[in-house]
């Protein structure tokens, strides 16, 4: 009698009239329009929200097998500020939205978009839909046509960071955003419990047998590499994990200047302890997220010799980044 039950969604959903299915969805370049959806019968329409089975824009898909002791403590909500919900059978985005785009990219048929001022909205128009008792799963739906995006811009990225910093709890917001975004980008990541002296890092990822201990910072300073050294020592010692199987990741909103001690320290640490610390810019994560690309974390070993994450992001994107030269969102500016 004491087990925790699973949610059986009783909400009714929608599907296309005459049981037509979408055959193709095109996205506009910058997602300022809903996806252009083509049905089997050739009809073209703005992608509407069908209240799909998984409600991908609200529910986080929790990866298992990252670190079992943490599995139960992960929030099932995707939005880092809890701004999106269902109200009267419509997807509603509240004022606290920071425009991170997690919900926008999670909708398999592009029924969410960035409005003017980058506010997110959902297409709740139901003219082309009929109500259905069993909500339809879109988990296997493949977007067939996918335009190259250049949604990233310095202005947009800085507005998201500003939204994070102004949110009620900036630490919580950025931590949730990073873990959910990294998971979506193929690096399953869990937040750790605060106050757990054995798991001191902000988050932990796992790819195969390798653990990544993640520190997430809104301000770059020497504390982050120190934190990683501490995290690795405590984690490897107390969980009996070989140091060779552990990598540190520091996620930063802005990268430190070239002449700061940060970069040299990263080199020193690798040289003396063998611990590799990756520096992943938040802007890189968001850009890859918005472009449905992959995050190859090991490409982000930045150091005094290479203080830019630009190449690593462009490699995954397969195109040039739409950011100016020497932009500290992606590389050491000076």
């Amino acid at each position: 009698m004491s087990e925790i039950l699973k949610v059986k969604e009783s909400l009714t959903g929608y599907w296309f009239k005459n049981n037509e299915s979408p055959s193709e969805v095109k996205h506009e370049v910058d997602r300022t329009e809903y996806g252009e959806l083509t049905l089997d019968n050739g009809e073209v329409l703005d992608s509407p929200c069908v209240l799909c089975h998984d409600i991908f824009c609200i529910n986080a898909q929790i990866d298992d097998d990252v670190f079992d002791v943490l599995e139960v403590s992960q929030t099932k909500k995707l939005c880092p500020v809890d701004a999106i919900e269902i109200e009267n059978k419509s997807i509603v985005v509240g004022d606290s939205c920071i425009s991170c785009g997690l919900c926008v990219v999670s909708c398999p048929i592009g029924a969410l978009k960035f409005n003017e001022n980058n506010v997110v909205s959902a297409n709740n128009a139901r003219d082309s839909l009929s109500s259905v008792a069993d909500r339809v799963s879109l988990s296997d739906f493949q977007i067939i046509s996918y335009d190259d995006f250049e949604v990233e811009s310095e202005k947009f990225l800085r507005s998201v960071i500003s939204g994070i910093l102004k949110s009620k709890s900036k630490t919580l917001t950025i931590n949730r955003l990073i873990t959910k975004a990294m998971s979506k980008l193929g690096v399953p990541t869990y937040l750790t419990r605060q106050g757990d002296v054995n798991l001191r890092m902000d988050a932990i990822s796992r790819i195969g047998t390798r653990f990544y201990l993640v520190e997430i910072e809104t301000l770059a300073n020497l504390d982050s590499p120190r934190d990683i050294l501490d995290d690795v020592a405590v984690f490897c010692s107390r969980y009996d994990v070989d140091k060779e199987l552990v990598t540190g990741i520091i996620v930063l909103t802005e990268l430190p200047n070239k002449r700061t001690e940060y970069w040299e320290l990263i080199d020193d640490i690798e040289r003396v302890t063998g611990v590799r610390i990756l520096t992943v810019p938040l802007a890189g994560i968001l850009t890859l997220l918005w472009n449905n690309s992959e995050l190859i974390v090991d490409d982000f070993f930045l150091s005094a010799q290479n203080t830019s994450g630009r190449n690593a992001v462009e490699k995954s994107l397969g195109r040039k980044l739409n950011l100016p030269e020497s932009c500290n969102l992606i590389e050491a500016a000076k």
Binding site: G195, C236, E261, D268
Partner: protein, 560 residues
């Protein structure tokens, strides 16, 4: 009048705080308001103003908790969570754990608001969970909706105070009718309404502001649940009045609830024991089922009256929320779930790690040898010599104590040279690092032929007890020295921390030192100033010195 706690009307924050606590506290642990503070304050989820700092609080500061805003905010949140059935307390009122209902709140997804709605409807007084002032027999949210519906769909805040929240027994239809009839008649005259409200509040010795504060939470909840929305109403009142109108959603909920038998604690206690268990289980799983959880594996029939309802409650489905009505003892008996078995240990709890295990087994002895040359002449050595000459019978400990006290206000500009002088007295070459040289990050360094020991120093003005932060900096010093080789340095030679006192969290620091050694093979030795003073005084008094090699393989907390 029924007095709700007033933690504010922002239900999103109340829910978010619960979710955050659930994510960060082990399901198998009890926890306290201090644990809530420790998690919620640094994350900005509740205001920290008024708090002297969680760390001080947890270390047993004797400050007045009643004046600590964040403590009281957490206390009110805890009370709300108990009222909603998400937390429960056992014998100690301020020690909590999550309930099975709380588990489902945390695991709900798009259905979370629906389940929370059921929790608001589940609040009823009296109950075995909370004691409230006054003798109320009340299911407040149902009665508020019922009163709105009966009074043309609207109710003002003050009508709520005078009406539903002041009823002595809302199961009495006559009392409910009278209350509605009184409010309806008072709507015709604002003067009469004010007079009636003032008299009632005066009789209960509550100010209008306080009474208003008691309504903030329920009004916030009604809006958040979308059961009622604010409306400026002229039609039903003598003058334009700020009211709350029941919504379509609120009306649907009310209709559904009124079709059921409202079961209160007194009805429940009248049931025979086996029936109590069956009824509680059915009620709980019905609540979960109706808010979207899959109960198919539990084989409990919830969509029609159960045997107990058929027999005792007129064959009607019922409204009853066991986790909001019954004591934790009774709930464990009924649901058979496992009780938490430990108390959450805060970051600041020294007992989090077993002290003894790590502080022992370290070789902390320092060997003294006869001094060959008197090469330690400095200001401090002269001071110590004169103290020894004047008081030859005083024991070393009391000189150490007096001298240490005289340094307690030292900033780093005074303390770093003091540390260097102490090492010079014992016979070592110790240099304070110049400011601003990045490759010499350590605060001082002991130099020997072909080797060196970097020292991270914490003056009493920076921190009175050595912290884990200093240990981490000592690790970094060693790494930088090894990497950049700005001085000769052997990989196995220790890195040193000197602070004023040894750490408060001795076990935590000691364990971190061991973790660092185990993983990186780097030894860190932590000294308090008293150990250095003891060594220095012994060297002067007994004409001894200490070899560099005595410090090269020291590890852990050193107490000379």
């Amino acid at each position: 009048m029924l007095r709700f706690p007033n933690p504010g009307s922002d239900l999103d924050n109340i829910v978010q705080c619960f979710m955050f606590l659930y994510e960060n506290i082990e399901r198998s642990e009890y926890f306290s308001i201090h644990d809530m503070q420790e998690l919620l304050v640094p994350n900005g989820l509740i205001s920290s103003s008024g708090a002297v700092g969680t760390e001080a609080l947890l270390k047993g500061s004797n400050k007045d908790l009643s004046r600590d805003k964040s403590y009281n905010q957490c206390k009110m949140y805890a009370e709300i969570y108990r009222m909603l059935g998400w937390f429960q307390s056992g014998k100690k009122a301020l020690i909590y754990n999550f309930t099975l209902l709380g588990d489902h709140i945390a695991h709900a997804t798009t259905n979370q608001k629906v389940l929370i709605g059921y929790c608001f409807l589940g609040i009823s007084y009296p109950n075995e969970v909370l004691s409230v002032n006054g003798q109320h027999h009340l299911r407040p949210f149902l009665t508020i909706l019922k009163a709105m519906s009966a009074l043309d769909g609207v109710l003002s805040r003050d009508e709520m105070i005078l009406g539903p929240l002041s009823m002595s027994n809302d199961t009495c239809e006559e009392e409910f009718r009278e209350m509605c009839s009184q409010l309806r008649s008072l709507r015709k005259s604002q003067t009469r309404f004010r007079s009636e409200l003032n008299d009632t509040l005066a009789h209960r010795r509550i100010t209008k502001t306080t009474a208003g504060n008691y309504t903030r939470f329920p009004l916030g909840a009604l809006r958040w649940l979308r059961w009622a929305e604010p409306e400026s109403n002229k039609k039903d009142y003598e003058k334009t009045t700020h009211t709350y109108r029941i919504t379509e959603e609120g009306t649907d909920i009310l209709t559904n609830m009124l079709s059921r038998k409202d079961v209160r604690i007194i009805d429940f206690l009248g049931l025979p024991d086996p029936a109590q268990k069956e009824f509680s289980i059915t009620s709980f799983y019905r609540m979960l089922f109706e808010s979207g959880f899959d109960i198919s594996d539990n084989k409990i029939e919830v969509s029609r009256p159960c045997a107990v309802e058929r027999r005792f409650f007129d064959d009607r489905m019922t409204v009853f929320s066991p986790f909001q009505v019954l004591s934790s003892k009774k709930l464990y008996e009924i649901f058979g779930n496992e009780r938490p078995h430990s108390h959450r240990k805060s970051v600041y709890s020294p007992e989090k790690i077993d002290d003894a295990e790590f502080v022992q087994n370290l070789n902390n002895k320092i060997e003294f040898k006869n001094r060959s040359l008197k090469d330690f002449d400095n200001k401090l050595s002269r001071t110590i010599s004169s103290i020894l000459e004047e008081n030859s019978r005083i024991d070393i400990d009391s000189i150490v104590g007096d001298l240490a006290n005289s340094f307690i206000s030292y900033s780093k500009d005074d303390f770093y040279p003091l540390v260097a002088e102490l090492f010079s007295i014992v016979g070592l070459k110790c240099e304070v690092s110049p400011h601003g040289v990045n490759s010499r990050r350590w605060d001082a360094i002991i130099l020997s032929d072909g080797d060196s020991i970097p020292i991270e120093i914490k003056s009493p003005a920076e921190e009175i007890n050595v912290s884990v932060k200093a240990v981490r900096q000592a690790l970094e010093n060693k790494i930088i020295l090894q990497s950049r080789q700005s001085e000769n340095n052997e990989p196995d030679t220790s890195s040193m921390v000197v602070g004023f006192y040894l750490p408060n969290e001795r076990a935590e620091v000691a364990q971190l030192v061991e973790d660092i050694y185990k993983v990186y093979g780097i030894s860190i030795a932590v000294f308090g100033i008293k150990s250095l003073l003891t060594m220095a005084i012994r060297c002067i008094k007994e004409d001894k010195s200490v070899d560099f090699s005595e410090f090269t393989c020291k590890r852990g907390l050193i107490d000379v």
